[in-house]
Amino acid sequence: MSTVKTEDGHFHHAHHFNSLSHQYDSAKQGVWLFMVTEILMFGGLFVAYLIYKSIYAPIFHVGSSYLDVKMGSINTVVLITSSFTMALGIYFNQKNKPKQAVIALALTIVCAGIFMVIKYFEYTHIIHRGLVPGKFFNNPEFQQKVVDFISNMPIENLTPTLSDTAHMKKIAPLYFGFYFVMTGLHGLHVMIGAGLILWVLIKTANGKFGAEYYTPVEGVGLFWHIVDLIWIYLFPLLYLVG
């Protein structure tokens, strides 16, 4: 959408739309459609998670006890707050208050930064203990814990797969496969989102947006909220449930 602000301070919609609000509606619909693809993409991972968790629950249970719930919770709070400041960023744009909008957007980026830093410490902590997916996994203690957990389970709940000790030891890293793929893909989205927010921040600072036209801010906002939304599900699934 090539919307430009002209000399006299008005916004012009692209030639194939009738009006700014027509363009706004279309753009928003496009962003929503894109959000659907995001949901389905992460959805694939969630389906795989659900299936493996119902087959190999002990691995997931023991695995989640290796993660730091405190760090996870702080990250959740940080991300929720960033969603809030993002919503404020849109609000101030709607109200024609670019200065406040810039502050809100900057806070969002700061939150994204905090999130990534905490994530970095989490990752290094886990990787140092050898809790890496498949090929590089090196933590016999974890494998032993899974086996111990299974041998403490009530007999009537056991399935033949779980009773096979050697097999369970071999596939124990599966949990960290999921952990790294899911949080990794999510982290990638956080970084992309931060980049996009920086882009709209600069444009807001340059006075490119106002109450009449703030579509990109709204679109980036939707993207950022989806990132938040996915984390809302990821956090309990990876850190708490098991």
């Binding site: 007999i155 056991l158 033949p160 096979d164």
Partner: protein
Amino acid sequence: MNNWLNIITANAFMPIQGTEIAGKVDNFYAFLLISSLISSIILIGGMAAFVVQYKRKSATDKTAYITHNTMLEFTWSFIPFVIMMVIFYWGKVIFNELRSMPDSASAEEIHVVGVQWAWNFKYKNGIKQYTKDNDPNKQVMVVPLNKPVKLVMTSNDVIHSFYIPGFRNKQDVIPGRYTSLWFKADKPGEYQVFCTEYCGLQHSQMPATIIVKPEAEYTAWLDSNKPSMAASGDGGMNEMANKGLEIYENKCRSCHSIDGTKIVGPTWKGLYGAKREFESGAPVDADENYLKESILNPAAKIVKGYPAAMPPYAGQLSDDEITQLIEYMKVVK
């Protein structure tokens, strides 16, 4: 091209029928062939007729203005629907038959392992590799005539697929899992086996042959090719059962007898296939699943008149060891 005439006998171009089910598949095939021929004659014939009859005659031809006809449209949605439901049901019946395994007591069980790029067949008496003309690439599976054969299949590396055109049957062979397939050959002869799941460089060079022999010849073959090692075991015991015997000696002997006496737990004599009654719950036949469950999780079903004393062996015995134990139970008669 004799095949052309076979359209009437309803197995045009299909390979020879090696099983009874193959005949049923071919009847279904004939139905599909003929009904599809009729449908395509209606569709393509109608199209051709209209193209010829309503050829444009002048640049200003007037055409009829027909937008729709609800009754007609309903008819040609409904009739295909009915036909397709018939096809679905017929197919489902055949599919169920192809997939419902014979009970293991009456069937000959052969283990199949797919590797890149060969099939390995393992018999219960220890025959592992049997090849034609001493060519290591020509794997042969010998099976008895008129007796159900159950193949228990797995793969060592990637997915393969075990396909016997003559029996109209096929099943993927998946690493880390067992899949199974059964057939009852009713014509002696040689049948080709293909791998039909793309598995890499020599996907097309995984041929094997199934040779169907009358039961007497089959037993003779089994005996003459039995590895010498199995012969040193006691009586007709197979290789797997031998290993099971070892485990029995180490772990089970103190509670289970093999001569019918009651120690702590029930005897294993004649256990396999017998009907078991429990303290609670319906009686079941002692098949592989029941036995495996009772080893891993004895508390699930307590045999009538015995204490719930056995510890669970979950985590202590591997899948292979359990299979060997069960094979051993089968031979304790």
